[in-house]
Amino acid sequence: MQSKASKETKSRFLFRHLATLFSLFFIFTSTSSLAAELNLAVASNFISPIKQLAADFEQETGHSIQLSFGSSGKLFAQINNQAPYDIFLSADTTKPKALIKKQLALPDSFQVYARGQLALWSLKPLNSSDLKQVLLNSRRIAIANPKLAPYGKAAKETLQNLTVWDVLKKKIVQGENIGQTYQFVYSQNADIGFVAFSQVLATNPQGWTMPIPRSLYSEINQAAVILTRSKRIELAQSFMAFLIRPDTQDKIATFGYASELE
């Protein structure tokens, strides 16, 4: 008799726990199906702003965002090979356009989300307030690869517009991207360098910065697209809308970018 009773309580005990487990499982699965995850491929120069923006978006909507960083060229190659991203935030406009052409991105999703600003940066005091003079006095000038990096192209245009490109060509060293260009100046292997104003703002280094007049280089537009492969196109669209909302654009501007809407 006794053993039967204890068996009964045991099974009831077990049942109750199983029930709680089931309901817990149900709650977890249902919430996770409500909050979807968005995968973003982001050009490295936009790392700090996007971290902030992603956190804001997560807080606002309850959806989570996964970020993958790399140079635009590398991310482009990954997307070409079926990388599972929903949105691509490129450092330029050519790669998003190329993806649309290949039908890997939605044509009407193309959106410029930020505009880069070029700056000259040096650890030692600049020996003149005249941009051209500073360049001519320098020993070695670091720029990003003009063929690959939008900031490198802008730097080259600046030097060409100042008509010093041919004179200074021998003094120029190229970083693969704007991060390496920064590193060349930071280690003082180059005495000055053309970097992104956003880098200088983000790292707040010592040294002297001179903004480059916007008239000297063509716009450094950064564009985003939604990828055709995405299974959460609606959510991706709401993120794109969030990205160009005026308050978001104001936030992007605090990271050293010109607001796209200005």
Binding site: G73, A77, K147, E176, F184, Q188, N189
Partner: protein, 232 residues
């Protein structure tokens, strides 16, 4: 798939770099390998470790510290500046120095193994015949270690040709000065010039295969020959 003139420049530069580095490394590695093969000093372990470190370190670590070390504010950079030598980063000489660090174990280790494999006996026999230490080294040790030297030269050369991370860090991507094949391929890929990237990459794969196939078949032959000669 055709190679542009920029590609050809990169190929020549790479071959030049690998040749200079291999020759210098063979000269430097000989005393290091000899000492490591013979010594009973407690320093043997640490020195062996230093030589082998590039095998396990990412090239970016080497490049990063070389950039700081050789830069105008770095110890070596300051010293060189005082000696009137122009800064090494972004120059061919800088690449040579960096590649020597990077490829060192690939040259030292085969030579060291060859010295160890020959044992003490041939040298002791020569010593009893009143051969001088230099004589023993040049006329017995070096010829006996020849297979080791061949492996060392091939591996050192091939490894330098395949270098990427270090050059990326300290090279500055200058045509005919620091833009080697691997950097050129990286540029092509990033610029979405996949055809040109393919052309150079396939060339590299062919090169790597031929070098390694040659190395492994010649090793086998050497072994057979050595056995028939009754050496091994």
């Amino acid at each position: 798939m055709t190679l542009s003139s920029e590609d050809i420049t990169a190929i020549w530069l790479t071959l030049k770099l690998a040749t200079v580095v291999t020759l210098l490394l063979i000269i430097i590695s000989t005393p290091i390998a000899w000492w490591l093969a013979r010594t009973k000093s407690w320093l043997k372990g640490p020195i062996n470790a230093i030589v082998a470190m590039p095998l396990v370190l990412p090239p970016t670590v080497l490049g990063f510290y070389l950039l700081i070390f050789l830069g105008p504010e770095g110890p070596a950079g300051k010293l060189l500046h005082n000696l009137g030598v122009s800064p090494l980063p972004f120059s061919f000489s800088g690449l040579v120095i960096a590649s020597m660090f990077y490829s060192l174990p690939f040259v030292v280790q085969p030579i060291q193994n060859a010295f160890i494999a020959m044992g003490d006996k041939p040298l002791e026999a020569a010593a009893t015949l009143r051969s001088s230490p230099w004589d023993r080294f040049f006329h017995i040790a070096i010829p006996l270690a020849k297979p080791g030297y061949i492996s060392a030269a091939i591996l050192g050369f091939a490894h330098t040709v395949g270098e990427f991370g270090v050059v990326l860090m300290i090279g500055g991507n200058i045509s005919n000065e620091t833009r080697v094949i691997s950097i050129q391929i990286y540029d092509h890929v990033e610029a979405l010039e996949y055809d040109q990237a393919h052309a150079l990459s396939l060339l590299m794969i062919g090169f790597a295969f031929i070098v390694l196939a040659f190395l492994y078949s010649s090793k086998k032959q050497q072994k057979n020959k050595a056995m028939s000669d009754g050496v091994l």
